[in-house]
Symmetry: C2
Subunit: 209 residues, 2 copies
Amino acid sequence: MKHLPHKTIERLSQYRRALLLCLEKGKTHIYSHEIAKIQHITSVQVRRDLMLIGYTGTLRKGYNVKELIDLIGNIIDSEEGIKVAIIGMGNLGRALINYFAGKRSKLRIVAGFDTNPDKIGNTMSGVPCYSIEQLKEVVAAEDIKVGIMTVPADYAVDTADLLVKAGIKGILNYTPKPVNVPEGVYLEEYDMITTLEKVAFYVKLQETD
Amino acid sequence: MKHLPHKTIERLSQYRRALLLCLEKGKTHIYSHEIAKIQHITSVQVRRDLMLIGYTGTLRKGYNVKELIDLIGNIIDSEEGIKVAIIGMGNLGRALINYFAGKRSKLRIVAGFDTNPDKIGNTMSGVPCYSIEQLKEVVAAEDIKVGIMTVPADYAVDTADLLVKAGIKGILNYTPKPVNVPEGVYLEEYDMITTLEKVAFYVKLQETD
DNA sequence: TTAACAATGTTAAATTTTTAACACTTTTAC
DNA sequence: GTAAAAGTGTTAAAAATTTAACATTGTTAA
């Protein structure tokens, strides 16, 4: 398998999420159109994505849920696992930790960072909170590869710089301030306001039709 | 102006965010390549988007920040404003409220909902918290158009149904459980785990190159 | 005053992504 | 046992999105 399209990568992760839910319910097989319905896409797209990763289902029975989960794991997970840090233990940071707790074995949030002395030294949902001063040290000691930024907007740029200097390889920026990273560091930015504005826009559009 | 591409809508919102920051700094004009740098895209794309909305800058001086902010507002904002509710006043819900407070005049979070009696009746960052039982009533009374779901995963499906029944026109689902809505309701889903997995994937990819 | 430069605006090409079309195969129904 | 139905897998077409190419025009500098 050569290069998977960007969008396929995103969808594979979503398929797995859906498949894990099916597994919980005791479903052993699933059709492409069932996955499609859950994800609000077409069954063709599902089949095409699965073709790209070389998975082949059973004709007339659909895909084996367990097998497919494993295969997707082989593709998107990193074998040795990846450790993640959260910078900013405010509401959003804590939400992420709770939300994430124990969900993916190959992707673990192992450290939180904050500037608030009341938080430093405590553990939140199993994640120890360190001082931001210790960032470099902890990142190195734990071999943390990915950082999630949930700090106040005004600290965004500085935090990104700190992460880069600490040797982080991927940053997920939940701050409303875009940041810059050098070549070799993967950056993903997400602004909740933008998303909300998009929803509002399409609501407006629908009404004026 | 006919139909703006989906992606252009998203970017317009992002441009505005960047432009507002520039305005704060006292910048009156901005070049396409400056906007591009902030957003990590190309200047061609910026110019193309602005062409689509019919805005024309000053040659050699760039775009007028204020004018462009206003124009983008005319396009994506709804004139009379849109009211938003948050369902689930946990960490994520509260994070969104704080994060959003007073940021956009045309888009206001006017109500929160929860099942926890300790929260109901209180105000959080200026947003009153109601019982989920009152959803329909409050949505109707306030003419709330958009709902943001930040409830625990297990309540996702039921909450979506409630929102639809209450007459909500747009749903932003931050729950990891996909939901379904009827025709006429705009749905946007976002799963933080998927995003994190994507970051992790590209970090892994970069390392194995 | 005129040549070089640096920006915008726009058309055309390239790329990416999605959708359609359809061949193939098992299961089901009679 | 055979036809119809209901799936998968894949190639081809279409649509959406991005990028390139370039014409145009103020501005600057010699």
